[in-house]
Symmetry: C2
Subunit: 440 residues, 2 copies
Amino acid sequence: MELGDSTALLTDQYELTMLQAALKSGTADRRAVFEVFARQLPAGRRYGVVAGTGRLLDAIDAFTFDTPALDFLTSRGVVDEPTAEWLEKFRFNGDIWGYAEGDCYFPESPILAVEGTFAEAVLLETVVLSILNHDCAIASAASRMAQAAQGRPLIEMGSRRTHEMAAVAAARAAYIAGFATTSNLEAGRRYSVPTAGTSAHAFTLLHDSERHAFQAQLASLGEGTTLLVDTYDVERAVRTAVEIAGPSLGAVRIDSGDLGLTARRVRDQLDSLGAHGTRVVVTGDLDEYGIAALAAAPVDGYGVGTSLVTGSGAPTASLVYKLVARADGPGKNAPMRPVAKRSTGKPTRGGRKSALRRLDAHGTAYAEVITTAVPEPGPRDRVLQVPLVRGGEVVGRESLDRARERHVRSMRELPPTALQLSKGAPAVPTEFVDGGPRLL
Amino acid sequence: MELGDSTALLTDQYELTMLQAALKSGTADRRAVFEVFARQLPAGRRYGVVAGTGRLLDAIDAFTFDTPALDFLTSRGVVDEPTAEWLEKFRFNGDIWGYAEGDCYFPESPILAVEGTFAEAVLLETVVLSILNHDCAIASAASRMAQAAQGRPLIEMGSRRTHEMAAVAAARAAYIAGFATTSNLEAGRRYSVPTAGTSAHAFTLLHDSERHAFQAQLASLGEGTTLLVDTYDVERAVRTAVEIAGPSLGAVRIDSGDLGLTARRVRDQLDSLGAHGTRVVVTGDLDEYGIAALAAAPVDGYGVGTSLVTGSGAPTASLVYKLVARADGPGKNAPMRPVAKRSTGKPTRGGRKSALRRLDAHGTAYAEVITTAVPEPGPRDRVLQVPLVRGGEVVGRESLDRARERHVRSMRELPPTALQLSKGAPAVPTEFVDGGPRLL
């Protein structure tokens, strides 16, 4: 979906039936606060990464009901005429604040809060969750891969393993979390993520010999290109590659077999041929564990596909969007009260929350403090929520590189346990400070 | 992305760099056949379901390079000017055939084949795989859920747990595989999937009491609606619901706790209140196993979210797009030869393949026959591939309901092991009949 296309129907039907019933019962205008948080991180994960905020701001800007959408809703009986008339004029006019994109989060971190009338805030639920659940899941997996790669560049190449538009968002989220490049061209065009890519096995098979294929690629892309050397026999391919391209060949790529062993052999062979500067790139079913296992191998870059776009075992961030406070009557100044579901299984905490990351004297985070009281940040506490939308106006737009830089800083704050790939507790414990019901 | 929007940049960069190199080396015009297949099904799965074909045909129609796309590609140096000029005129003019949407597949089943020049066929790789990998993964999971539900209706409600556009495709794929409805409004508008939805916990919390909330919902949606009864106390909510709505209340929904136990209690309570016709719908972290476990519970419908849109543990179908045959020279009539990658780890079988499902006298499938020879179907063999695109013209478009009906028929052919949820071997074994190199 291009910016500008309406996002209003990327919505669960019940948001609209609730709206209609609330319009009828006179409760639609009550002010309400919804919060987005994850009850838990995916099993064993040490931290999560906020991503999707920039996409979400675009989606909120584009959340308006055009004539085809309204015709669909009324002709199918999803909403009645008065509700359709209300929707026709709809534009979100409330406030949104949240954790800045690229920052880390933990269980119960209130990574987004939406305040407005119930009517306007409930309508955004589905698209808010879709965007954040997907992008946070990808960024959270990507960050672990980037940590495991220890500074070696990562290429995102999972487009073919996920929905064609999810692929674009995944490339964006991976870039925020530390990937260097993506294979996805639309992510390059739309978000200016650097793109990369040279050739596949099909290109070698197309030609009458591997030598012909390498010659064709070098003639087109120059000697700085990456030649894929595992279509037939790796050793022979590397020999041919250096013979044709010379020792300034950019890189060779290995996509199958024992990547560590093959990388070692290829490195030795390249060195023996004088191609000391030719890099060795490995791809093929890598995840954070596979990357970590290659730390000692002479590898200069990793391509990651399936495991990146599927969140490496956690394809959704399990974020929820919960009503935590609402007014007793209509109007901007009606007093608000905390509300919470009390039934078994999935209780929630009522009240609008603020969040601080508490840092020790070394700048290392040791607590995620969440409070319904007015927060009183100490000198080393980092206030986590920033304004994103004020009175319907987007105020939180920023470049992707800012989010990428923020992620680097946020990671530096985390204790060393955050970098462990093994399953364990969140790296920073969540602490609730209950200041009594906050003046809302 | 709306129909009509270009899909051309939903593509990995290397498809374009390969194109450029092939244009330069004179191999771009060689005829080529690419096949889409899965080396294996996801661990333990008994069958896969083809879905996404209809979306793919739309995407191929929209695969053209407009000026912004070409400007991006040349300004970033992805392609050179001659390649950009070639792309400007590009339209796929080849042939595509494949398994019909809704049919089942097994390991190595050639579910799609693309024949054209190398140039035109390689360009489609990424978008073909993105669409089929996503939609087949969702449909394959959905089909198991539908089998487990044994005829009770399933509501797809996972939009919030996946990318906002993937959600639309997921609703479509779930419908093909047997789901009754979706919460996703865009899936209703775009693909005419029936939509459903009434209210969430937030609606109850918005009102001064559960009673007020129920009254508001009934006033707006009528007594046929579904009331959500687990915001506070289920027993009290059910009593209130029937008291207000009367015994012709449509349904109650339970979203937490022990669903089987609660459904039993609620059913008994409804019956004791005379609401024999009021249905009990359960939602909340259900997957095919959870659904199967409720087979004996008095449940009238299931809502499924996260597990559906994430493929219930297999979020991608692991389909690949492999060059299996190509001509030795340019032109329509140049002789073609089978080609295959020979390196360790992921070998492929060369040659264009045909596929038959072999049925016994009872109409039960017992072999998936894949052959590079000219197929000779016996009287009970079902030919699996159908034409989808001929000379660039889409010929395989059909209604979603036809695909949905086909899935029912395809499931009826499978042996009983297909319906086992436990991990095991594919329900129908794949047999290769090597007829020697086929005259291509």
